[in-house]
């Protein structure tokens, strides 16, 4: 996990590539592409994705398995390992391009300015170290060496997520799934970072724990004002928590816009399909169909729109041309239905 590199030099991250960003955005991802180099050729798992994140903003990235959402998140956090490779684009974090930074410079940023909470806390936490020892590791890596400071801060963050500080002495297997995930979030809060990246942190939990963890994340976010990128396959989960929603399909952004807007009037046929995919707990019981077919194999590039084979609204142009992101009423959708769209309903 966190390396014990205590005496590192001063923070030298202002590489030549970094231009001071004119906007107030904390994170700006531009034209980011990630390829997996495999025996049979390359697979473009993230294709030209651009987005920006304002301070304190909560952006949810949703999509099916294999749509590239986790790869995108790993690329943003610079956690990709071969055979995955960033082949194009930049990730500007507070004016610094993270792409191509040395491990040493990244270590200085990790935990301190940006933390990552992984999907399975059981795998992300070290099973043979107590929670407290792992917190200590992260802090030692950032030059917090006083025992008192470490103990004090560790207890503080654990209390913040509603866990009794006695659990600093507990090992991961002694905690329930919800508590493990909470302690991961506590660890991410050690230095009150400005950006927290979360990869399906709730998917291993059941509904009640899931709900309370989401409420907790939102409360912490409101208190400390960090920005969140939240990756999930369950759109309904983030409906009440995220400011902006980015729907991914086949490595591309299919639709992006304000969360409520997307839920109220989804533009892309894929988003519409996702909306129809989960049953409701209230109201009339309606038969649902979900989205027929399965996500495309990205190794087999086809002409035209990736979603065309599953799309109920497909027409000729979709099979021969690749759509761009077209503006639709405050959102953007990658669908020819909106090419030349000038407001109003479709």
């Amino acid at each position: 996990m966190a390396s014990r590199r205590v005496n590192r030099g001063p923070l030298v991250v202002d590489a030549q590539a970094s231009m001071p960003s004119p906007s107030s955005a904390i994170l700006e991802v531009a034209d980011l592409s990630v390829e997996y180099l495999l025996e049979g050729g390359t697979v473009l798992a993230v294709d030209n994705v651009s987005f920006s994140l304002d301070p304190g903003e909560f952006v949810a990235v949703v999509g099916e398995s294999g749509c590239g959402k986790s790869t995108l998140l790993f690329a943003v956090a610079q956690l990709l390992s071969p055979p995955a490779e960033i082949v194009n684009g930049s990730v500007m974090f507070k004016g610094t391009n993270l792409v191509g930074l040395t491990d040493e410079s990244l270590t200085a940023i990790r935990w301190k300015d940006m933390s990552v909470v992984m999907q399975s806390a059981m795998n992300a936490l070290n099973p043979v170290k107590s929670i407290g020892a792992q917190f200590k590791d992260a802090m030692l890596a950032h030059d917090v060496t006083s025992k008192q400071d470490i103990a004090h801060r560790s207890a503080e963050v654990l209390k913040m997520v509603g866990i009794d500080p006695v659990h600093l002495g507990s090992y991961p297997h002694q905690l329930s799934g919800g508590m493990r995930q909470r302690s991961m979030i506590a660890m991410a809060m050690l230095f009150t970072p400005e950006l927290v990246i979360m990869d399906e942190p709730t998917s291993a939990l059941d509904v009640v724990a899931q709900r309370s963890l989401m409420v907790q994340i939102k409360e912490l976010q409101q208190e400390f004002g960090f920005a969140v990128i939240f990756v999930t396959h369950d759109m309904s989960l983030v409906s009440h928590f995220s400011d902006r929603l980015m729907v991914m399909y086949a490595g591309e952004v299919a639709e992006v816009g304000p969360t409520r807007k997307l839920f109220d009037s989804p533009a892309h046929p894929y988003t519409q399909g996702l909306m129809e995919a989960f049953p409701s707990i209230r109201g009339a019981k309606v038969p649902l169909t979900g989205i027929p077919g399965s996500p495309p194999n990205l190794a087999r590039r086809t002409q035209g729109c990736w979603f065309a084979p599953r799309c109920p609204k497909v027409f000729d142009r979709c099979r021969s041309e690749r759509p761009q992101l077209y503006p639709v009423d405050g959102t953007k959708a990658r669908c020819f239905l909106y090419d030349g769209f000038a407001g109003g309903a479709s």
Binding site: M179, V207, A209, V215, M235, S236
Partner: protein, 346 residues
């Protein structure tokens, strides 16, 4: 038609006997060592029934004992006390191998993780044909192959002849879970024990599996015990709902009745935790931070009392019984049984 347990003693008249009935089903696990003998009460005094052509949803958090019930019904565990009746015959009276085989064919299980439940080195035809050889030896091998094709067609794996020849890794998660149902169906079951069959799948694929389960009930006349923690998918297909908490039934009844008129505070908690994007925007006010208890050597009293905002004195001393509240609606809650309005969560 099937003589499950010839040696079984005469049981209550078969005229009103449901397909499956449990009577005071209890399963305890011994934990600790020679110095501290303790008992984990995984399932305590649970009585319920499943009728013909009925989908019964068994809902609750992790640790509520729902998977233990599935394993008891599948004869993986033996009950500590209590009895299971299948078509009126005691399961405990099963002695011979042929009786065991017949029962496991009549009540097969479908597992949660489709990535772990299929053998990766065999084609998917292997599993289904093996089941047919064991359970339907009267068929010739050609007939067995035809039957395998038929069940693959029924579960929507088409073209069946083609899919049968594939290996598990060539199939998506949803397709693999369909293979699980096809294997169960090949044995001409009366009751499928489905332990969280959709929780590992992407939201967009779940709905297809839920529709499949409803089809199996409607066209193949199979009953299903549908174990889930998602009340929305339970509502979508189930006829009846059993809500479990800490090894006991908290509330049960027809699913619409229980969900529109939940009487047990725990059911209300589960309902309020279910993400519902169609509901009004806003983070709920409920702040449940509790977790389901491990029930070790319990003292009398309601097991939900520590999390219950409306607990009264009697809840701490007397374990509530499951009693009728309304027509076909039972709840184990002192407050609800006193006739008072229960409004704990949501």
């Amino acid at each position: 038609m099937t003589d499950l347990a010839q040696s079984g003693t005469a049981e209550p008249s078969a005229t009103t006997e449901p397909l499956l009935r449990t009577d005071g089903l209890t399963r305890h696990f011994k934990i600790g060592n020679a110095l501290s003998r303790r008992t984990l009460h995984a399932v305590d005094d649970v009585s319920f029934s499943i009728g013909e052509r009925e989908i019964v949803a068994l809902a609750g958090e992790s640790g509520s004992g729902k998977s233990t019930i599935a394993r008891l019904l599948a004869r993986i565990y033996k009950p500590t006390s209590g009895e299971i009746y299948f078509e009126g015959k005691k399961l405990s009276a099963i002695r011979s191998r042929s009786e065991r085989l017949r029962y496991s064919g009549l009540a097969p299980m479908v597992f949660q993780d489709p990535f772990a439940s299929l053998n990766p080195v065999f084609r998917v035809s292997h599993g289904v044909l093996r089941g047919l050889k064991l359970h339907r030896p009267d068929l010739t091998s050609d007939q067995q192959y035809e039957e395998a094709k038929r069940v693959f067609d029924v579960v929507g794996l088409t073209p069946a002849a083609d899919v049968l020849q594939r290996y598990p890794h060539e199939l998506s998660g949803g397709q693999r879970q369909r293979v699980g149902f096809a294997q169960a169906l090949a044995m001409r079951p009366k009751l499928i024990l489905a332990d969280e069959p959709v929780s590992m799948l992407d939201v967009s694929i779940r709905i297809g599996l839920l529709n499949l389960m409803a089809t199996l009930r409607d066209t193949e006349n199979v009953s299903i015990l549908f174990i889930t923690h998602d009340l929305a998918s339970a509502r979508y297909i189930a006829d009846r709902l059993i809500v479990m908490y800490a090894g006991q039934i908290a509330e049960t009844g027809s699913i619409e009745e229980v969900l529109t008129n939940p009487k047990h505070p725990y059911t209300q908690l589960l309902l309020s935790a279910a993400p519902d994007p169609r509901a009004e925007l806003g983070v709920g006010a409920e702040t449940d931070r509790g977790e389901p208890p491990k029930v070790i050597d319990p003292t009398p009293g309601c097991r939900f009392r520590w999390r219950c905002p409306i607990a009264i004195d009697v809840c701490h001393s007397i374990t509530p019984q499951l009693l009728p509240i309304a027509d076909g609606h039972e709840a184990a809650c002192h407050v609800a049984q006193s006739g008072a309005e229960v409004k704990a969560f949501g």
